[in-house]
């Protein structure tokens, strides 16, 4: 834990973007998320940490209703985005997912060209009127994904031909291209080498200026490096939630303390 570099960062805004109240998730009879209350702020990186199987991914997938795609999964409780209940029958999950983008653990570029990968979301949502608009969106997204310089000469090469780290930044750029308000990332660096990880972490820090970012990570160092808020999950419960610095230096709950000192794996 000595190499842990805790940076105190000012949280720019205190506006609540997503708020969850008494959230429960069941997979069939398994109770995977128990009574979770959490407020995720705008323009902030929030990290979810916890031992594997504790429900971090499950809870993250509640925030853009990706759990709807799993037949046996059932979500209860209230989750509000900008004060609107996202589980309201009036809400179209497809529209919600355009607003709440997601980046997955394993880079999953489509077997299409780099350009088509980025243009995929804008095309589906009709964000570009002309080809020039689309070109502009693609360039802007690739720039924000910090990968423009590496791919600008081969936009029509397949996205699957990039290296792992490049693929993951491509996926981040792809998620950004639909102009989301929240970006969910499920262990985005777990399949990457340290250099690619550093690039992605740097990118996450830049993204904070525009988006609310929620990142699941199994690395406490990473949580400490990139996040302002940290939530610690254990066995489906949200054990502790607060300023990252505070969670790592002065945890209130004994379970948090055992986890960050390495006693719960």
């Amino acid at each position: 834990m000595n190499d842990m570099r805790i940076v105190e960062r000012k949280v720019d805004a205190n506006e609540v973007k997503i708020s969850a109240r008494t959230c429960q998730v069941y997979y069939g009879d398994t109770h995977a998320i128990k009574d979770v209350d959490v407020d995720i702020q705008d323009k902030t990186v929030t990290a979810f940490i916890g031992p594997s199987g504790c429900g971090k991914s499950t809870f993250l997938r509640c925030l853009n209703r990706m759990n709807d795609t799993i037949d046996i999964c059932r979500v209860e409780g209230d989750i509000h985005l900008d004060g609107e209940d996202i589980y309201d029958p009036k809400v179209d999950p497809v529209q919600l997912r355009a607003k709440v983008g997601m980046v997955f653990q394993k880079p999953n570029p489509f077997p299409k060209s780099i350009y088509d990968n980025i243009a995929y979301g804008p095309r589906i949502h009709g964000l570009a009127k002309t080809k020039a608009d689309l070109d502009e969106i693609v360039e802007k997204s690739l720039r924000r994904g910090a990968i423009w310089d590496e791919v600008k000469d081969r936009l029509h090469a397949p996205g699957t031909g990039l290296s792992g780290g490049q693929q993951q930044r491509l996926c981040i750029a792809r998620a950004i291209a639909t102009e989301p308000e929240v970006l969910l990332m499920d262990e985005p660096c777990s399949a990457l080498d340290p250099i690619a990880t550093a690039q992605v972490e740097e990118l996450i820090d830049e993204l904070r200026a525009r988006y609310s970012v929620v990142i699941v990570t199994h690395s406490m160092q990473q949580a400490a490096r990139v996040s302002q808020k940290t939530a610690f999950f254990h066995l489906g419960n949200l054990v502790e939630f607060g300023e990252t610095g505070q969670i790592f230096t002065n945890p209130q709950d004994p379970r948090t303390e055992s986890y960050i000192t390495g006693r719960i794996g």
Binding site: K99, G101, F110, I124, H125
Partner: protein, 498 residues
């Protein structure tokens, strides 16, 4: 000695070898298996293999060669003059074997002593009647040369059979002694057994490959024979298929039959295209529903139900075409039918066969496509759904394009099935070779004509019969090409997600 007995004896010896080999190895390690190089059973297996494999291989070869040797020795007994008009030495030898078998049966049934069987003469006994009494029917009276040859045949096969038994069991024993003497603690029995097993596996795959080569060779020789009798240019480019009944040639020496493959290829392609037009959309949509929309319960029920279609014998599809689909189409498109057009003259038509064949092909397309769609990683779908795409957008824009090469492969495999299909065509499309655009006309295909040319009573050496091999060869090359292309595409697709 019957072959079955030899096999049983060799296997028993192998079992004994297993036990003694294992025991000797154990004894050499003072009863402690940890001092052995390999597990004790490997020493046993080593002896077992040494006993059985060489002797069995020899047995198989012996059984293949023995008839040839006996044949050549016996056929010298039949004088050239004895071969009657319209017959041949080969046919005579077949008679000889039949009589020899008949004598065997008679002896086994107790109707004759074996002494009698090797002594009787046609001059004194009516062989045909005596063999008929034990259920062996002969086509004509047995002539003296044939009976003598048959007796010689029996004598030789008895003698060689005995030699074979002795040699094979001897080889088995020698193998046992050799392997047993090697069963020491240091002996690497495991490595030897593994390499023996590897050779067995190689042998199995070579048999499969050699059979293919054999099939191709037999086609090639007969095809060459055909092209000697009939000009290749006419075969490939003449637009008529009109085999004349008696065969024969005109005054210029040209064959009277017109054996152009074009009308047959046209029929084949026309019917296959209609079949694919039916099978591909239905199969593909069914596959998409099953893999993307159906719940596990529906899937578990529907997938096997669709695959039942693949298990129906094609002759049953043929009957379905002939009795149901054909008349139904005539009711609609025939004279005085529902549409009041008279496009269709009879129930057998390209359309009838094509529709039914299409139904037959549905499971080929759907089952393979379903597997291929399922092989598209879930991460692709999640990625698309996570960007706010709907399910059908995801399928159209991500899943299907990713699965496309594989689906094309599935379609090509279905196409080669369609091209090779015979029964449905015979019953559904008629027998008229015709170059016509009307899908309601009767036409026929390459496969159907192969059957009719070979089952007709044309002389086997005439171009009218040999053309079947040229047709078969053409068909083989076409489907082989399609299959190779399909495999190439499927393989390319597999690499994409490695």
């Amino acid at each position: 000695m019957p072959v079955l007995w030899i096999v049983l004896i060799v296997l028993t010896l192998g079992g004994v070898g297993f036990v003694i080999g294992r025991m000797r190895a154990m004894a050499s390690a003072d009863g402690d298996p940890r001092h052995l190089h390999s597990l004790p059973n490997y020493y046993g297996t080593h002896v077992f293999l040494a006993v059985t494999v060489p002797s069995m291989l020899l047995l198989v070869m012996w059984l293949l060669v023995q008839p040839l040797v006996i044949n050549s020795q016996v056929s010298s007994l039949i004088p050239q003059e004895a071969v009657s008009e319209g017959s041949s030495l080969g046919l005579m030898m077949a008679d000889v074997r039949r009589v020899a078998d008949g004598l065997d049966t008679a002896v086994a049934a107790g109707a004759m002593t074996s002494e009698e069987a090797s002594q009787i003469r046609t001059e004194f006994t009516d062989i045909r009647e005596r063999l008929g009494a034990v259920g062996v029917a002969l086509g004509s009276d047995v002539r003296p040369e044939v009976l003598k040859a048959a007796q010689r045949y029996r004598e030789l096969s008895g003698r060689y059979g005995l030699i074979m038994a002795v040699v094979i069991i001897g080889i088995a024993l020698a193998g046992m002694a050799f392997a047993w003497s090697r069963s020491h603690a240091e002996f690497r029995a495991r490595n030897v057994v593994e390499s023996a097993i590897k050779s067995l596996l190689i042998l199995a795959s070579s048999i499969a490959i050699l059979t293919t080569v054999g099939i191709v060779l037999s086609l090639i020789f007969n095809t060459i024979e055909f092209f000697k009798l009939y000009p290749a240019a006419n075969f490939f480019f003449e637009p008529t298929w009109l085999p004349s009944f008696g065969g024969g040639t005109d005054s210029d020496g040209n064959p009277l039959s017109k054996l152009g493959i074009l009308p047959l290829l046209w029929g084949t392609l026309y019917i296959s295209v209609i079949a694919l037009l039916v099978a591909v959309p239905i199969g593909l949509f069914a596959a998409i529903y099953l893999s993307e929309y159906a719940g596990p319960a529906t899937r578990a029920f529907a997938k096997p139900m669709i695959e039942v279609l693949a298990g129906i014998p094609t002759i049953v599809y043929g009957l379905f075409a002939l009795l149901t689909v054909g008349p139904l189409l005539v009711d609609v498109f025939g004279a005085g039918g529902l549409l009041n057009v008279s496009w269709m003259q009879g129930g057998t038509a390209v359309m009838t066969a094509g529709l039914v064949m299409g139904i037959m092909l549905i499971p080929f397309v759907s089952s393979l496509s379903d597997d291929i769609i399922n092989a598209v990683p879930q991460a692709m779908r999640d990625g698309s759904l996570g960007l706010g795409a709907t399910k059908s957008e995801t399928i159209k824009q991500v899943v299907l394009p990713a699965a496309l090469p594989g689906i094309v492969g599935a379609i090509l495999l279905a196409a080669s099935r369609a091209i090779g299909e015979t029964m449905i065509v015979v019953l559904g499309a008629g027998a008229a070779a015709r170059l016509s655009m009307n899908p309601f006309d009767a036409m026929t295909t390459v496969t159907a004509k192969i059957v009719s040319q070979l089952t007709g009573d044309a002389d086997f050496a005439s171009p009218e019969a040999l053309v079947a091999f040229a047709l078969g060869m053409t068909l083989f090359l076409v489907t082989l090409g399609l299959n190779i292309f399909a495999l190439y595409i499927v393989r390319k697709y597999r690499e994409q997600y490695e």
